[in-house]
Subunit: 287 residues, 2 copies
């Protein structure tokens, strides 16, 4: 079973967190989205979901009270690259049937983080006890979907080969603000040789619902990154002399923005502990 | 009327050849492909065609004897990025009706270059006297089409702003050889800020028949380019600190490969003096 150390997101702990990345052979039992969700629901699975139920969309989580949810949806709407909303509950409902008929947003993630006034008050595998009638759940697309498409075309991803988390950077690119939500865009970085960078731009362009095309390539200093070996989240991976750093908008952005807004109440997923949905990655390709 | 100095392709002469680039306001009379072709046919137009008949595909020319033509078609087939064949005549025919019903390949370019045993034996505005029953004409897509698509999205192109020719480099990337044809790929370079580079990759991907997506970005030393300010053809334009050099396969490649093959006989277009066809650029978009 997975450790729950992923609940700790400090950069230092994540940088050494090869242990937090799943070993594919550990997941023979989790080949279908339903199997993963049932394991979460029963408490049998409390760790990262990368590599589980190959071919199916995984999603990040943001749960907010209704008044904040309206502003947050506006924020997502105007920042679709870092915040692609792939599912959303009715206020008070913990169901998102478009992503899975049986799905219960309170139990079907392996782990949650509960926030009060901007502080984490609980790391837990079940938020049923925290549920309120005014809560709205957002499920946000994640890069696992487009990484699958890249790997299907034999484009090597160093963090996957190294079995570490993708390096992520808080850039100087400002999101479009909406209500109480504003902040800088977090981007994930993958080093690629130029031909693969071009092909990766083409492939990920097909998937706007899971971050889409890169937002930057090649000149990290232009987006406020001084040292590629010092990511703000995730693990460092080196960029070789024959490679370009390629940057995609990252789903950590909404989490970072929510943390900065210090909402009275919020729930997010524990890092790496995603919802596995019944939607196939290929359904999200626009061509 | 245009000067005919474009017939001289030495790098030194081209590097100072702002004079060889057309001024858009000089072409009020050449708004339609037919008008351009008729002006060529009558001898009234003997200079570059850039900027004429906006929206319509322009093409490069290669004419070879039938036995070489078969090998050349094979070469183009296996090197579609630098050598996208958009039209081809039947052996002995000087018609390519798919590109224009009235089109006469012997007269409808503003200028031609006639080659014998690898040497230029004539620069002329009409090759009727050189025509032979065994000749096959190839019309090859050119970058003017995708540049129009880039400019339509307000992506600035420095060589256009400067009114000079795009810089082109003979890279160390080998084309796939076919028969007597082989050689290195020539690429055109356009400096773009990263966001424009990403968008330009998306836009030009839609146009595989006119060179398509870039083949390289960002690291010119990897493709054998030592100094971006010393192009092998065209004019130098600087790459600013906030820009990446973006490289597309170039239609000068087939000309360079034909010159190296030293065929017994060949005809090409004079530099910059393209065929203006009845096909719209947008017809060549695959999506």
């Amino acid at each position: 079973m997975m450790s729950s150390t992923m609940a700790n997101t400090s950069t230092a702990s994540l940088r050494t967190a090869a242990r937090s990345t799943p070993q594919p052979d550990a997941y023979a039992a989790y080949q279908t989205p339903l199997a993963v969700r049932l394991a979460c629901r029963s408490g049998a699975l409390t760790g990262p979901t990368a590599g589980m139920a190959p071919g199916y969309v995984q999603g990040n989580l943001a749960i907010l009270p209704k008044d904040l949810a309206e502003e947050f949806l506006r924020f997502c709407h105007f920042n679709p690259r870092p915040c692609p909303v792939i599912g959303m509950s009715e206020p008070g409902s913990f169901k998102v049937p478009t992503l899975g008929e049986d799905l219960d947003i309170r139990t079907d993630f392996p782990g949650y983080r509960v926030w009060q006034d901007g502080e984490v008050i609980a790391d837990t595998a079940d938020v049923t006890d925290y549920w309120r009638d005014d809560l709205v759940a957002f499920v946000i697309g994640c890069s696992l979907s487009f990484e699958e498409a890249l790997m299907a075309e034999a484009i090597p991803l160093r963090h996957v080969e190294r079995n570490v988390r993708v390096p992520m950077f808080r850039t100087n690119v400002q999101c479009v603000p909406a209500g109480r939500f504003s902040g800088r865009m977090v981007m994930s970085m993958r080093p690629l040789v130029p031909a693969h960078a071009i092909r990766a731009i083409q492939i990920t362009t097909r998937f706007p619902a899971v971050h889409g095309a890169p937002v930057h390539v090649g000149l990290p200093e232009l987006i406020g990154i001084k040292d590629l070996m010092q990511p703000d989240y995730g693990d460092a991976v080196e960029v070789l002399d024959n490679e370009l750093p390629v940057f995609w908008a990252c789903g950590v952005t909404p989490q970072s923005v929510i943390a900065e807004a210090r909402p009275s109440f919020a729930i997010t997923h524990a890092p790496g502990c995603m919802l596995v949905t019944d939607r196939r990655n290929t359904e999200f390709a626009i061509l």
